[in-house]
Amino acid sequence: MAEVFAYIKHEGGVADDSALELLSAAKKIAPGANVTAVVTGNGADIDTVCNAMASAYSAVWKIDNEALAYPNAEVVRKALVNTLAADSIVLLPHDTFGMDLGPGLSIKMNSAFVADLVDVEDSDGAVLKVIRQEFSGQAYTHVTCDISGGAVINVRPGVFAAEEAAATGAVVDKSADAGDLSAKRKYIEIVEAEAGDVDITKAEVLVSVGRGIEDEDNIEIVHDLAKAMGAEVSCSRPIVDAKWLEKARQVGTSGKTVKPKVYMAMGISGSFQHMGGLKGNPFIVAVNKNPKAPIFQVADVGVEADILEFIPELTEKIEEL
């Protein structure tokens, strides 16, 4: 059976949340297989991460190199291609790093690529049957994948429960196998997102608006509702892309992580990148004109309505209280 690897993202000596989620995904993808954690990096941090992973994974491969000090996907790809057997099964998180690395890695390893896996249906070692979503979660698909020649599998963050740390794996230094790590893309620096004038991360109540608001002029009704409720206004990404609200108000993986008590999702479909920014198990109210919108699967309370009509009426009633 092919070897199974999970790539461990880490920063400042701390493994990413995905590190142990990938282990539980791997156990469903290849039941009974030993799963090896691969940690790339440079210096003392990488040892800290390797030791932490050895308490969960049965083996840990460490690839230590100056060129890997920052996880530039082009460089990491070379290190993996040089170190892993071509028919390996490699798991990555489907986040901004996994999207950068996974597709190209599958080409260089001449193996199959499965993007954004949300569940595993069945696996017999040669054919893997998984569940994916299309159209931002509006439809689910069963997908089969021929993994006999290896595979790169990007796993959606947050859907597999983190595996308990219950192993005593050995750390194996594979640094000597890393080979040529020259790349035509060079990492320069990280520019932090601007702080902005509002801080939605501290708000207890958020009135959050999505593309369902349809027009910039309609944003006003959202501000009115928030004011009546004593809430702060937040939004989904398309509203920021259109420059109708500032970036500091965006909830999601590429925006802010918020922990309100109450979250009002108005005309938001509920994509995983949006929901990924919502923590602390808030009470979610969703208003959407599409009764099948994925947001209704995660909301506590739903209203099927046109927000352009519903919001002003709700505001008026609250103001009357």
Binding site: N72, D116, E134, H142, T257, G302
Partner: protein, 262 residues
Amino acid sequence: MEILVCVKRVPDTAENEIEINSDGNDIERDDLVYSVNEWDNYAVEEAIQIVDKVGGSVTVVTVGDDESEEVLRREMAMGAEKGILLSDDAFEGSDGKGIATALKAAVEKGSYDLIFTGAQADDGAAQVGGMLAAMLDYPYASLVNLIEPGDGKLKVGREIEGGNQEINEIELPCVLSIQTGINEPRYVGIRGIRKVASVEIPTLGASDLGLDAGSVGEGAAKVRRVDYFMPEMGEGAEMLEGSTEEIIDKLIELLKAKGGLK
């Protein structure tokens, strides 16, 4: 700078409710409104802006059927000079790798300094750009939200978690996948599309591209979609029913109880 932008025709999810057909092998496509993948409009706009600054031209390419020509014309109305349609029965049932294989062949028939894809399309896979780059042995950067042309290279910003930006230097030729928000795509009206209605768009099939039919399509696909389904919804949201007034009264009670009203 010669720039090739890959675009995909997709159902417009803002306009449609997606329904699964009775056989469960596809979505109901009859009444769907199609448009250009949202991300691809940003890619075309960025290409046009770069060419406006440094000269060159923009070509748009898609793998699709006859109906995909309309998305090429739409992007040409934005300002792309040329369009190329890659269409062949042999491409049907392609997985992401099959699509990238066809695009690679098209890239090799031209001479491009820079290739754009969208960050992701309707499958949410975010795969074609990275595959194409690896096949061409070009460097790649995904989720790009800043591009500054330099001499033989570019400074690019990638949008990463938390909206932080990872700055890289990348050598040309390269492939970049473009993230929304990098610019404000220009509006195209009916008139603009009419203007390019008669521009010739060449259609290339597998043999024109020098592709062995076995390297694309269903036969080559290691990843296969078996069916579409909707899972058992579990509990889901409690849907408030009744007149709007009744719904609002119930909602206000709930909000009070949960601390949503101050």
